[in-house]
């Protein structure tokens, strides 16, 4: 066994342990902030796996998209809400946990069975490595054009949706006398009045 193979084996073991450990911790920990940070650990170790498979571009994209964007947004959401109270103990919670555990174990068994039973069509070509970016580009504009464009349209829809949601000042084109119709207005929580003293008395 050469040095490179040894390093690869040790790295694979470390990454697998890291990925499984942090993935289990994401599910099992009570603290939602820990779970969110550990999700980043899962993504990072997945990127490490891609590097081991000679797919550097996919690894970097994984870090950029999942760690840099998705995980940061999840953390943002959690921290803006920032509720630091323990969950109310639910009566007979163990029953739900038991059922969930059973379902998860069943799914795991099913997946293991299908992984073992599928005859994987493993290509014997040498990996392209550095040239992968050019290959990916060629595929995007030839046989994978439709999925690529569909994904772009989906992102565009999400972008426009986000802009519409963020824009609260909607000016309906009704003349001053007419009553405004509710259908054209975005749902918005009514502003709370500043003077709370009157409310408290009533």
């Amino acid at each position: 066994m050469t040095l490179a193979q040894g390093v690869q084996l040790v790295t694979l073991a470390l990454l697998a342990a890291m990925m499984l450990g942090s993935a289990l911790a994401v599910v099992l920990l009570d603290n939602i902030v820990y779970s969110a940070f550990l999700l980043g650990g899962v993504f990072i170790s997945m990127a490490g796996m891609y590097i081991l498979l000679n797919a550097g571009f996919v690894a970097a994209a994984q870090v950029l998209v999942y760690v840099g964007a998705v995980n940061v947004l999840i953390l943002f959401g959690i921290m803006l809400v920032n509720k630091r109270q323990a969950l109310q103990p639910i009566a007979r919670a163990w029953l739900g946990q038991l059922v969930t555990g059973g379902v998860c174990a069943g799914l795991f068994a099913l997946l293991t069975l299908s992984v073992v039973n599928t005859s994987w069509d493993i290509s014997s070509d040498t990996p392209v490595g550095e040239g992968a970016i050019a290959e990916i580009g060629k595929h995007f504009f030839s046989d994978y054009l439709l999925p690529f464009e569909l994904a772009s349209v989906l992102l565009l829809i999400a972008l426009i949706g986000a802009i519409v949601l963020a824009r609260r000042e909607f000016i309906p084109d009704v003349s001053p006398g007419e009553p405004e119709s509710d259908t054209l207005q975005l749902p918005e929580r009514p502003r709370e009045l500043v003077s709370t003293a009157d409310l408290r008395e009533s």
Binding site: V33, G56, G68, N82
Partner: protein, 372 residues
């Protein structure tokens, strides 16, 4: 193209001549460039801190540090030793694990990014194909560390600072990536070595700054915002947030943030000089001078000189950019958070998109000048 000096090749050759097997020689070589770059990055902190103090002093008509070492050059070392001996306090209600992990997650990606900074044809830790994309990916990890630090401090100013840092970082990442994309479009490669080689041959006239002036400005502004330098140091705005996410940190944990910010500044300057200012290229093409003096490009002494000039030029360009960053700090007032986000999303993003489209159009029309 000038092959330059292949240090790795010569090193392994010497060791194999001494009777070591090939594999062992390669394994011995591996840590060398990494340690060298780590030391270089650490020394760059001292240089940058000293420059910052001296230039700030000059901008405010003071003298600045002058007692510690000649011209006060050892002031940063004194500060570092002081930070080492400070008590390491973790606030009582802070989350100790996240509080400790935060600074580490901010610093590690910055040092990792030095992997792709070339100082010459073969003077780079590794010339990986994804090159500059790796830097963009790694720099997107830092906001997680900042959020972690801000959240775990259990302090509203820290949390606000962390949230601001993350928002700023993800907003300015997009124009920066688009500016890099325009460069990549012209170089046909993500590798930093290829990007510099594409600019070489015509001296200062071949540098990307002439072909990508808008891209250069966008990238430099976005890089300053990513480094949280004034006028974009909103996450640690003293008047509003005490010190942002750093408020509760003491001792070496604070030192790590400090180190991270300065290493990141130097790294950004290095990347700008590689992408837009021709990297290790001398303003007058060395190949041209050599042909004028009728010296063969393969001459050993010429190659040594070229390599030395290459390292000096890269550092000189980077520090010239650091100088402008420091001058900007003392001449431009801080923007407001809404102005910052407006500027990023409503100005830089559309401009960088237009820049990208223009580059693509120019590349199709003038393939000679724009690397078709």
């Amino acid at each position: 193209m000038n092959p330059g000096i292949d240090l790795q090749g010569s090193f392994i050759e010497i060791l194999t001549d001494l009777g070591l097997p090939q594999g062992a020689a390669q394994a011995l070589w591996l840590p060398f460039p990494m340690v060298l770059i780590l030391i270089g990055a650490t020394v760059s902190i001292f240089v940058t801190v000293w420059l910052e103090r001296k230039i700030s002093a000059a901008a405010q008509q003071r003298i600045g540090p002058e007692y510690v070492g000649p011209l006060g050059t050892l002031q940063a070392a004194a500060d570092g030793i002081k930070l080492l001996f400070k008590e390491d306090i973790t606030p009582a209600k802070a989350d100790p694990i996240l509080f400790t992990l935060g600074p580490a997650i901010v610093v590690i990606p910055v040092f990792l990014s030095y992997l792709i900074v070339p100082f010459g044809q073969h003077m780079v830790i590794t010339d990986i194909g994804i090159g500059i994309f790796l830097w963009i990916a790694l720099s997107s990890i830092a906001p997680i560390g900042l959020l972690m630090a801000g959240y775990s401090s259990n302090n509203k100013y820290s949390l606000l600072g962390g949230l601001r840092a993350a928002a700023q970082s993800i907003s300015y990442e997009i124009p920066m990536a688009l500016a890099v994309l325009a460069i990549v479009l012209m170089s046909n490669s993500l590798s930093t070595i290829d990007i510099v080689n594409q600019q070489s041959g015509y001296g200062i006239l071949g540098w990307n700054i002439w072909r990508q002036p808008a891209g250069f400005l966008i990238f430099w502004i976005a890089a300053l915002a990513e480094c949280e330098r004034l006028p974009f140091d909103l996450p640690e705005a003293e008047e509003e947030l005490v010190a942002g996410y750093q408020t509760e940190y003491t001792g070496m944990k604070f030192g790590l943030f400090y180190v991270g910010s300065y290493v990141n500044l130097v790294l950004s300057a290095l990347i700008v000089s590689i992408l837009y200012l021709g990297g290790w290229e001398f303003p007058v093409s060395v190949t041209w001078i050599a042909s004028l003096l009728r010296v063969s490009e393969d001459t050993a002494w010429l190659q040594v000189i070229t390599a030395a000039i290459g390292i000096m030029m890269t550092l000189f360009k980077a520090y010239a950019l650091v100088f402008t960053a420091i001058l900007l700090r003392w001449t431009v007032p801080r923007v407001r958070i809404d102005q910052l986000l407006d500027f990023g999303w409503k100005f830089l993003l559309p401009v960088s998109l237009v820049n990208l489209l223009l580059t693509a159009a120019l590349k199709l029309t003038f393939p000679v000048a724009f690397g078709g």
